[in-house]
Amino acid sequence: MRVSDETLQGIIRDYNGFELSAEELELVRPEIDFYLAQLAVLDDLELSGVMSGRLLRMPSGDESASGQGGE
């Protein structure tokens, strides 16, 4: 997959508010190529059952901040 120069330059112009020349875009290209290559690797990965790893814990008793060293 390759995204056209016009699309990429339009995104920078509209979202970032400045012009990116064709020469500058060539300097960004390796990063975009990497991104597109990784997307292709993810194609066969089933992600519908993956849960968030977020975990909030309430500090309690001797697990709280004080008295644990660190200072």
Binding site: I12, L27, I32, Y35, A37, L45, G53, R57, P59, A65
Partner: protein
């Protein structure tokens, strides 16, 4: 003990002598500042050297010790701070022209903790611009040079710190590690570099950072010193919700326990692929050495590493968000490597970011599962040794790789996965390649098990071929 003899010691060697009044923090700091001044033209490790302030701090600590107010092993010890960690009243540039005049009002939490422990801050250390790369070849403040071979990079982004520790300028330096930026200078400069568990150390005051996976960790000349530093840094910070309120153990307690019976997982995929031959030889020899000390090495599989590149997609997206205000106001002040690499993140779509985060979760689960069967994973820290400063590309295993800027990533391929999973990892010197450049051995533990890294690291350190080796700039 006088002059450079003092500076080539370690924190754990000096601390009892400072406590006993045999070594003066003032004399130690004066010697460190003189050495820093002599090394600066050769290594370019500092952006701001704090001569007077450091001496004043050393005098305060010396007087406190004389009054019987001993704070612990860091008291009176000269250290360096990476210049992306906020220091109250002291310029904090992040290595960029964009923030060349930035003076924070408050210390980063880690800086506050170091000061509270009595450490003397010698200066703010040079780094990759915005800490966004692995070379420390800074376009605004000049390239940091590797003390083992000054035409080579020290690794990055905390290159000033790694080079200072190796060159015996600082006894420890605080770096930050988003993809390996503590462990890479550790490996390339032949010192110990620790990235502790995500959530173990407060990130408050780490400037212009990522939303996902940054860590603050120490570089030191010994494993014991790494343990001493983490003891000072670790702990819950109620103002940083990424820190976890779990007890902080005594990290030095297990240093002499050895490795008998420890199970070492040696990944059979990803980490040992495409290595510089000298790196693979050194790391395989290190595993044999650990087995001779009583550890048991077993092969392990990490199949989800096939998807590790996805994590970089998320990092690209995070970077553009972080840089958005600076790009708007000061795009022309950016160096090209960081500018064009960062702009790549503008094109990552939201649902691809979500895919990347889910892939990251699967990889985290896999490491958690594997680390139930073994105590540690053992890998090379980097697939190659330090490239030359003037190299835009390196030929590696038959392919051409970018060293810096957009599309680079070879140097950090073995370190960045642990930023995604959050697991603690340490790099230890394990010999030199045929050109005399240091090689790093990486140990990885389950979350919040840093004491295992120190236990195994201290055992290996005693038999490492790097034991007693010093870089050329200090007469090695």
């Amino acid at each position: 003990m006088a002059g450079h003899e003092l500076l080539s010691s370690t924190i754990s060697e000096l601390a009892p002598r400072i406590r006993a009044g045999e070594v003066s923090p003032v004399e130690l700091t004066e010697a460190a500042l003189n050495h820093a001044g002599a090394m600066q033209p050769r290594l370019n490790t500092f952006i701001t050297l704090l001569g007077e302030q450091a001496m004043a701090q050393a005098r305060e600590e010396e007087q406190a010790i004389a009054r019987g107010e001993y704070k612990g092993p860091l008291q009176g010890i000269p250290i360096g701070i990476k210049d992306n960690l906020a220091t109250a009243g002291i310029r904090t540039t992040l290595g960029t022209k964009v923030l060349a005049d930035n003076v924070p009002e408050e210390d980063a939490e880690v800086v506050r903790r170091c000061r509270a422990a009595g450490a003397v801050i010698l200066g703010k250390e040079n780094l990759e611009e915005f800490a966004a790369g692995a070379t420390s070849n800074n376009p605004h403040f000049g390239a940091v040079r590797n003390p083992w071979a000054t035409e080579h990079i020290p690794g990055g982004s905390s290159g000033g710190g790694g080079a200072n520790v190796a060159a015996e300028v600082t006894f420890a330096s605080l770096g930050t590690d988003l993809g390996g930026s503590v462990r890479l200078p550790g490996a390339f400069c032949g010192v110990v570099g620790l990235k502790q568990t995500f959530g173990r150390v407060s990130q408050r005051g780490l400037l212009v950072t990522s939303f996902n996976g940054d860590h603050i960790g120490p570089m030191t000349r010994s494993v014991a010193d790494s343990a001493i530093m983490l003891q000072a840094l670790a702990g819950y910070d109620p103002l940083d919700p990424s820190t976890v309120p779990v007890p902080v153990p005594d990290y030095t307690a297990g240093l002499g326990r050895g490795v008998r019976g420890l199970r070492l997982g040696v990944p059979s995929n990803y980490y040992y692929e495409d290595l510089e031959p000298d790196v693979e030889d050194a790391v395989r020899r290190a595993i044999v050495a650990l087995e001779e000390l009583g550890a048991v090495a077993v092969p392990v599989e990490l199949p989800a590493m096939k998807y590790i590149g996805a994590v970089r997609m998320a990092a690209m997206s995070d970077a553009i968000v972080t840089h958005e205000p600076f790009l708007r106001a000061s795009r022309e002040d950016y160096g090209p490597d960081v500018l064009y690499r960062t702009l790549g993140g503008q094109f990552v779509l939201g649902h691809h970011y979500s895919k990347a985060m889910k892939a990251q979760r699967l990889i985290q689960e896999e490491y958690a599962r594997v680390l139930q069967g073994v105590d540690l994973l053992v890998t090379p820290t980097t697939p190659l040794c330090a490239p030359r400063i003037d190299a835009a590309y390196v030929e590696h295993c038959g392919e051409r790789h970018r060293v810096r800027g957009a599309g680079s990533g070879l140097v950090s391929r073995n370190t960045s996965p642990l930023n995604a999973t959050g697991h603690p990892a340490i790099t230890l010197p394990c010999g030199l390649n045929r050109d005399g450049l240091p090689i790093g051995l990486q140990l990885i533990a389950a979350g919040f098990r840093e004491e295992l890294l120190f236990q195994a690291g201290a055992a290996y350190e005693g038999v490492s071929p790097s034991l007693g080796r010093r870089p050329a700039v200090v007469g090695g």
